[in-house]
């Protein structure tokens, strides 16, 4: 959408920009909370250990870190423990079966585990409620339907019951309040409490140390504007003193280790406008135990995505590191607060723990920002501006014969950009370079490892047949579960066994 807007030089209306900022904020907050509690917490929290917790001591611990109402209640934690006990005794463990429970890398005391399990369940209910804010503006979630080239499809009219009106604004503010409360009183205190038991993970999982962000939350309506709230930038080699400007032309993909072929040679990096996607699968044809990743073998469906020739990490950590280096006031204040709480320096950011902490820090930043976007929308409507879409270029007949564009976006998972080439009013080439792929990208012709793989180097493994530590680091990237995680898991395991022994 932004790629087409850029190609056709479409400036969106104020309302469309603000609505997109609001939806992006809702998406980021929701996504990060689900990631922390439901996709990552069980790497740090031992559910079975929670059974041994004393409810009174759990309440003492929980109320010492937050005044969230349930935290002070021993009877609440007793009830959760009771439910958990009944669940385990039913013998039907469902999604909790075959976890690495009792693994020596789990460090939380039983009370902290019980507190986290209780909040895992609370977060399930919270997210279902909070996401209704997105449905208010975008029809439904997942897969909202309102985005248009040129703006949004949800009308605005304070005098209509079929449009965004004062009632919508009031409801949005209420959801934003509840989000702030949950983040401030549950997510952030839990994150800090859990992190305090895992400070050694501030020295594990650093990764490539190159960070990229396209910037997000636009302050003006121009395509790919650099006037954004969370800054764009490129940081190389963990050097916080130097932020380079982002130039989309420096983004390339090559396929020497990927299951594609390029007409001009697999090892020749291509800019996405010239990108090719021709499958060339050379892997096993039937059931296999492990992939041959040696030498020059191809082993991945992900292309080797590089910025300025090097692998880059994208995601909340990249955004927070760049904001920190740029002196972004709110970000710097929060990051320093968290580092101070944990008693570590900025170097601790370059780690698995830093990556997971950065996601929480960003959630709080955005949750604190969300009400101001909702008020900005209200103020704009008050001015009498009901425009939601620029439709000057809606009809393809208004387009030039040829056009090229790209569209930046910072998704919760990280920097995302689409490139489009339009010829004769049709798509001639379309390439998506998505954050899950950037982080999971394989080796390139020079042998440079991608961010996920690099981050695993040097990870201590207590039990090679139960590589919990590997999963922690991979999950800290919020990998695209839908596409690449299976390959990563299987490979990760083999790499561990080879290197550790």
């Amino acid at each position: 959408m932004r790629a087409v807007e850029h190609a056709l030089n479409i400036t969106i209306p104020d309302n469309a920009r603000i609505l997109r900022n609001i939806i992006n904020a809702i998406q980021a907050i929701h996504d990060h909370v689900i990631h922390f509690y439901h996709l990552h917490a069980l790497d740090w929290v031992d559910v079975v250990s929670a059974l041994k917790a004393d409810p009174a001591k759990t309440a003492a611990l929980a109320s010492s870190i937050s005044d969230w109402p349930n935290n002070a209640s021993a009877s609440y934690f007793k009830a959760v423990a009771g439910k958990l006990k009944a669940f385990v005794e039913s013998g039907q463990l469902g999604i909790f079966a075959n976890g690495y429970w009792g693994h020596p890398a789990y460090k939380l005391p039983p009370e902290a585990n019980l507190m986290a399990v209780a909040h895992y369940l609370e977060a399930l209910d919270w997210q279902r409620d909070f996401i209704k804010a997105m449905a208010l503006l975008g029809a439904k979630n997942p897969h909202p339907q309102t985005y248009l080239v040129g703006g949004m499809a949800t009308p605005i009219d304070p005098n209509s019951q079929n449009a965004i009106n004062a009632n919508t604004i009031a409801q949005l503010l209420e959801y934003a309040d509840r989000a702030q409360a949950f983040v401030d009183k549950v997510y952030i205190p839990d994150l800090l409490a859990i992190a305090s038991f895992y400070k050694d993970w501030a020295g594990i999982g650093a990764g490539v140390g190159n960070f990229l962000s396209y910037g997000e939350f636009q302050n003006d309506n121009l395509p790919n504007t650099t006037n954004v709230w969370l800054p764009a930038g490129f940081i190389k080699g963990k050097d916080l003193t130097k932020i380079e400007k982002v130039d989309h032309k420096k983004m390339t993909e090559e396929v020497s280790r990927s299951w594609y072929k390029y007409a001009g040679g697999d090892d020749k990096p291509l800019h996405p406008w010239d990108g090719e996607t021709t499958p060339n699968y050379t892997g096993p044809k039937e059931t296999y135990k492990e992939l041959n990743t040696d030498g020059k073998n191809k082993y991945s469906w992900v292309k080797a995505i590089r910025y300025d020739g090097v692998p880059v990490e994208v995601g909340p950590l990249a955004r927070m590191v760049i904001a920190y280096a740029a002196g972004h006031k709110e970000a710097k204040g929060l990051i320093d607060f968290v580092l101070g709480k944990l008693g570590v320096g900025p170097a601790a950011l370059f780690s698995t723990l830093g990556r997971t902490a950065a996601r929480g820090i960003e959630t709080k930043l955005i949750a604190d920002k969300l009400p101001s976007y909702i008020m900005e929308l209200a103020a704009n409507i008050k001015k009498g501006d009901y425009r939601v879409a620029n439709t000057d270029k809606w009809e393809p007949s208004t387009w030039p014969a040829e056009a090229k564009g790209y569209g930046y976006h910072e998704a919760p998972r990280g920097a995302l950009c689409h490139w489009i080439v339009i010829k004769d009013r049709q798509i001639a080439n379309y390439q998506c370079v998505v954050p899950g792929g950037v982080n999971a990208s394989p080796r390139d012709a020079k042998g440079q490892r991608g961010p996920d793989e690099e981050a695993l180097i040097g990870t201590p493994i207590a039990k090679p047949d139960q590589p919990l530590e590997i999963i922690r680091t991979i999950h800290s990237f919020d990998p695209c579960m839908a596409c690449a995680i299976h390959a990563v898991d299987a490979n990760g395991k083999e790499i561990v066994q080879v290197r550790v022994r």
Binding site: H38, F87, L124, R128, M134, A135, K140, P142, H143, T391
Partner: protein, 361 residues
């Protein structure tokens, strides 16, 4: 009865009142009269939670995300407590070999007693090499799991009909689950599926021991028996000729009909207008966006261009369902695949001549 779903719900803090409310809501979603509520409640009080194996193939995990938004009675309490979700790659605790063990344990120890849920299409080109999970081809895993399942449920348009992966030019020859394993597959299409429909199907199965009545596309009639167009709250505006002509115009702001903006409600069967999304908060037409027929086979091609008006609205009676209408797009899928492509291509040429591309059908 100890060990029953009801007992389990109680142990998780669900009250008797909430439990009966859930049974009533489920009966309503299923289109059953309130006299059926005791039967649903009785079934849930007696049955142990059935094992569910949830497989992911070519997809975006949107249907799993959707299930996390289920609301009656309350999200995960339904999905985690009414069923025993023994294998689900996204939210299960174990990874890698430990996760594979969960799958293996379930399909061997509970053979013939588990429900298989499929999310995503299965690629068939070149022997199915375009999707390996855990070193196994998705087509093999799909067949192996289906063989021992007591019920097969496909969720989302990708698993039902191929969805996005099967959109032209379908580079991996992706197919829906029915085309892989044959037999009875219950389809809950949509992009994503509506979680309340999934819950209602599972409860129906537990209550009556059988799947609900289906149309020829395998979709439960309670959820896909009526045209969106016929249940749409904006239908009076269609009948009165009041149409949105441009985004943000007066008609758009007043909630007029989106037909001229490309709405595919007249070809789409689903209960969006009645149950809506996210606890009844909204649905696409309510929000101001046209329906894209996301529960219709091959909607990415058949309903395309999304923002171009349908050339003709078939004369549709209130009592009609997808089978009786024989609407080109719907009937085509029931036909052989080759014929399907031909019909679809012909339909596209007729309706969407402006956007004709290379004719790669």
């Amino acid at each position: 009865m100890a060990g029953s779903i009801y007992h389990h719900l109680l142990s998780r803090g669900v009250t008797r009142r909430d439990f009966l409310k859930f049974c009533s809501a489920t009966a309503a979603t299923l289109g059953l009269s309130s006299s059926m509520v005791p039967q649903i409640a009785e079934a849930l009080e007696k049955k142990e939670r059935p094992s569910v194996v949830w497989l992911h193939f070519q997809e975006c995990t949107g249907d799993s995300e959707s299930v996390l938004r289920a609301s009656k009675p309350s999200i995960a309490k339904v999905i985690l407590d009414i069923v025993s979700l023994d294998y689900h790659e996204t939210i299960m605790a174990p990874s890698g070999h430990a996760a594979e063990k969960s799958l293996h344990d379930t399909i061997t120890k509970k053979k013939g007693k588990y429900i298989a849920v499929y999310e995503g299409a299965v690629p068939t080109k070149d022997g199915g090499i375009y999707c390996f999970v855990g070193g196994k081809k998705s087509i093999d895993t799909c067949k192996e799991v289906a063989a021992g399942a007591m019920a097969n449920i496909a969720v989302g348009n990708c698993a039902c009909f191929g969805g996005v992966p099967a959109a032209k030019p379908n580079p991996t020859e992706a197919k829906g689950i029915r085309d892989i394993i044959g037999g009875t597959v219950l389809n809950i299409p949509g992009c994503p599926m509506n979680p309340e429909n999934f819950t209602a199907v599972v409860v129906h199965f537990l209550t009556f021991g059988s799947l609900p009545a289906l149309d020829s596309l395998g979709r439960p009639l309670f959820a896909y028996g009526k045209l969106i167009h016929n249940n749409c709250e904006r239908r009076p505006h269609f009948d009165q000729g009041q149409f949105v002509r441009q985004w943000g115009d007066q008609g758009h702001r007043l909630g007029w009909c989106l037909y001229e903006m490309g709405c595919k409600g007249p070809m789409a069967f689903q209960n969006c207008p009645t149950i809506r999304w996210n606890e009844g908060t909204s649905w696409p037409v309510q929000a101001g966006h046209p329906c894209i027929a996301c529960a219709t086979p091959d909607n990415w091609d058949a309903a395309y261009p999304f923002y171009q008006r349908m050339k003709a609205v078939p004369g549709v009676g209130w009592q009609a369902n997808a089978d009786k209408i024989g609407l080109g797009v719907a009937a085509a899928t029931a036909a052989a695949v080759a014929a399907h492509g031909a019909i679809r291509a012909a339909k596209r040429r007729k309706e969407c001549s402006k956007s004709e591309d290379e004719g790669h059908e």
